[in-house]
């Protein structure tokens, strides 16, 4: 009877969590689909290579060795723990206890593999614990500059801390579960780390051990479900999106900025005196140059925003940020995501159709003109990002809107544009003097 109640409770909890998780991920998906289409198919072998090296292999993380090693502990621990999670899940569904162990306990080779695997997970978990404590102290005690910038105030820093604390919570659950289980069976499983912890429960009776074991089991399960539901609202979403984001990452040299085909068409008409302009389609949407809001960015830019885990390597490397300017590439990504979520909530509150809220990604407490102006397009942010996010692509598209739609440029730039148009140089020199250098 008790087992049946547990199975039912387990299924109900999983279903509820599954429902809310689906809602969360579907919200993210619908939001990303607000972006303009861009064909990023093709070159699949090169893309797969990036996915394997940069996402799975964390190649770009290792440019900065201390956080790379710590991050690798957590990443590896997370991946390997999924094996034990699988057993927990089957146990929950069937009401069994360590179903895999009991299936193999009389086959000595398989039994050793099971014990080795769980022991390995336990050792990995110890490393996860060390890394998590190190990360918490980097953020709160050592106060690593990039983890303490103004754009992290409020929810972002709570989010980051919550994720780290939940790691410790999950570890506490799994170790109390394993240790109590070991104690109940006089250590017959032979798990490495929990065997070491067993003396801690020496004074515990059987009931107490059962309670600890069940609490650990349920606590772990609930923690995992809670994280699954929370993930789409957190910066931690990178654990999933890093994979598609590196797969769809830019393959061109970093210096490349796309040419706008709609402008090529107009210039060609302008340059060809015999050209007949195409008939104007009165129903066509007016052409808008550059990006003013999230709808004008591509879906890849929006995926970038959701993939960003706010580590701030980009901002730490940004020459404008280093010299005290307002620009922070990380903030560009965070603002894009925040605006996109605002758009998503607006859409969902209005039966799936976004209602104009007279706001945009530029200004409105999102990205200021001053920030956009300060970028030197040096690509330091793009180079630094461990998962191939490009803040620069968003900056350039927003700049295009400022300059070409709003005629919003500093006076010096307007002078430069005029000189380029009239003299073919950013300064007011006569084109006829272009060869004068040879007389120097």
């Amino acid at each position: 009877m008790f087992t049946i109640i547990q199975i039912v409770l387990f299924i109900v909890l999983c279903s509820v969590a599954g429902y809310f998780a689906f809602k969360g991920y579907y919200f993210v998906y619908k939001n990303i689909m607000h972006g303009k289409s861009e064909d990023l198919s093709g070159n699949s072998s090169e893309r797969l290579k990036n996915l394997l090296l940069i996402a799975f292999g964390q190649k770009k993380m290792f440019k900065n060795i201390t956080p790379a090693v710590l991050h690798f502990f957590i990443y590896a621990g997370f991946v390997i723990t999924q094996i034990e999670l699988l057993e927990i899940f089957i146990d929950g569904l069937t009401g069994s206890h360590r179903i895999i162990f009991h299936a193999v306990e009389n086959i000595s080779a398989l039994r050793s593999i099971y014990v080795f695997t769980i022991s390995f997970i336990e050792v990995a978990s110890v490393f996860v614990f060390i890394a998590t404590v190190a990360f918490l102290s980097r953020r709160w005690i050592l106060r690593v500059p990039r983890l303490n910038k103004p754009e992290l105030k409020g929810f972002p820093v709570i989010d980051a801390t919550l994720i780290l604390l939940s790691e410790i919570y999950l570890l506490a659950c799994i170790f109390s579960m394993n240790t109590a289980d070991m104690a109940l069976h006089n250590g017959e499983y032979g798990f490495l780390v929990s065997g070491f912890f067993m003396p801690l429960f020496a004074g515990c009776g059987e009931t107490c051990l059962h309670i600890v074991e069940r609490s650990g089991w349920w606590g772990h399960m609930l923690g995992v479900l809670a994280l699954l539901v929370y993930l789409p609202y957190s910066k931690h979403l990178h654990i999933l999106l890093a994979f598609p984001n590196t797969y769809f990452g830019r393959l061109q040299p970093k210096g490349y900025i796309n040419n706008m085909p709609e402008i090529t068409k107009e210039i060609k008409l302008m340059m060809d005196p015999s050209a007949v302009p195409p008939p104007v389609d009165a129903n066509a949407a007016p052409v808008k140059f550059g990006a003013k809001d999230v709808f004008d960015l591509t879906w890849k830019n929006l995926l970038d925003a959701y993939t960003c885990t706010e580590c701030g390597r980009c901002t730490a490397a940004c020459p404008a940020n280093q010299t005290g300017k307002l620009l922070s590439p990380r903030k560009i990504m965070m603002n894009t995501r925040d605006r996109l979520e605002e758009v998503g909530r607006n859409r969902d509150a209005n039966d799936g159709v976004w209602k104009d809220d007279a706001k945009s990604l530029i200004e409105n407490n999102y990205i200021s003109v001053e920030e956009l102006r300060a970028c030197t397009t040096c690509n330091a942010c793009v180079e630094e990002c461990p998962i191939m996010i490009s803040p620069l692509e968003i900056i350039v598209q927003l700049r295009r809107n400022l300059v070409m739609e709003e005629s919003n440029a500093p006076a010096e730039w307007n002078g430069m544009f005029t000189a380029m148009e009239n003299n073919g140089a950013p300064w007011q020199f006569s084109q006829q003097d272009r060869l004068n250098w040879k007389n120097g």
Binding site: P253, K254, A317, A374, N379, L398, M404, K438
Partner: protein, 265 residues
């Protein structure tokens, strides 16, 4: 100084080996003009048949594009492409990383397909072929050179080694700044910042970079970009170190090494 234009080549029925794209800085900026002349001295010394577009060259459009003005960029780009395609240009060498980047990466989809080479790579190839002979070793003896990575050469196009190989030819010690190669700090000029005042902050970017250059204790700061050159020269001046530290382009240094140029250290 012997310089022929593409038009002159075309009228004599000859074809040059390579088009030297001078760029706006190289054409008009007094400091960058010197770099242009040094590079031409090397080309002439090696009897390389090169042509310039002269008055037919226009700005590539880079600062407009990076500032967000795609109209001005494409207008200039399409004009330049028309000129170059009419002459049948195949290979381009340029002393400006911004021209290099945009000609190489952004002109192709507008119909301009050329083999584009930055002068650092061009000079490195000449060195590899054994065509450059260093005759002046006295100038650089006991001196330290530090190379400043241009963003548009380095991160943008992953050219880190060619300029360093050029400098290694000289009889000087090559030292690195605190941030170099992929982590190289920008000089502050890119993205059309060269043409406007900085946003407010605690420091100018070129000062931050100059401080790194001075920390390296090099007497020579080598640049491979006319804008980096200006920014660092200004930085050195504002630190009042222009007597001890000089900023040169790699072409000027290599020309000096060949005895084609005298530089004052």
């Amino acid at each position: 100084m012997q310089v022929k234009t593409y038009a002159e080549y075309a009228s004599s029925g000859e074809t040059p080996e390579v088009l030297f794209w001078v760029g706006c800085a190289g054409s008009f900026d007094q400091r960058a003009q010197k770099v242009t002349r040094s590079f031409v001295k090397i080309l002439n010394h090696l009897n390389i048949k090169f042509a310039v577009l002269g008055t037919e060259e226009s700005c590539t459009g880079d600062p407009a594009k990076r500032a967000g003005n795609e109209f001005v960029f494409q207008m200039l780009a399409l004009q330049n492409i028309e000129v170059m395609n009419t002459y049948g240009v195949k290979r381009i060498v340029t002393t400006c990383p911004h021209c290099f980047n945009i000609l190489k990466n952004e002109y192709p989809s507008l119909g301009g397909n050329y083999e584009v080479i930055h002068h650092s790579t061009f000079l490195q190839k000449l060195i590899d072929e054994g065509r450059i002979k260093i005759t002046d070793t006295a100038t650089f003896k006991g001196k330290k050179i530090t190379y400043h990575d241009s963003c548009y050469l380095g991160r943008a196009n992953e050219i880190y080694e060619a300029p360093r190989k050029v400098l290694e030819e000289l009889d000087a010690e090559l030292v690195e700044m605190k941030s170099c190669r992929t982590k190289g700090l920008c000089c502050g000029a890119g993205g059309a910042q060269m043409f406007k005042e900085d946003e407010k902050g605690t420091k100018r970017i070129n000062i931050a970079r100059t401080e790194e250059a001075l920390e390296s204790n090099a007497q020579i700061v080598a640049a491979a970009c006319p804008f980096c050159n200006t920014m660092l020269t200004d930085g050195v001046k504002s630190k009042d170190k222009q007597q001890d530290v000089k900023v040169f382009d790699i072409a000027e240094l290599l020309a000096a090494g060949q005895g084609l140029e005298t530089i004052n250290l």
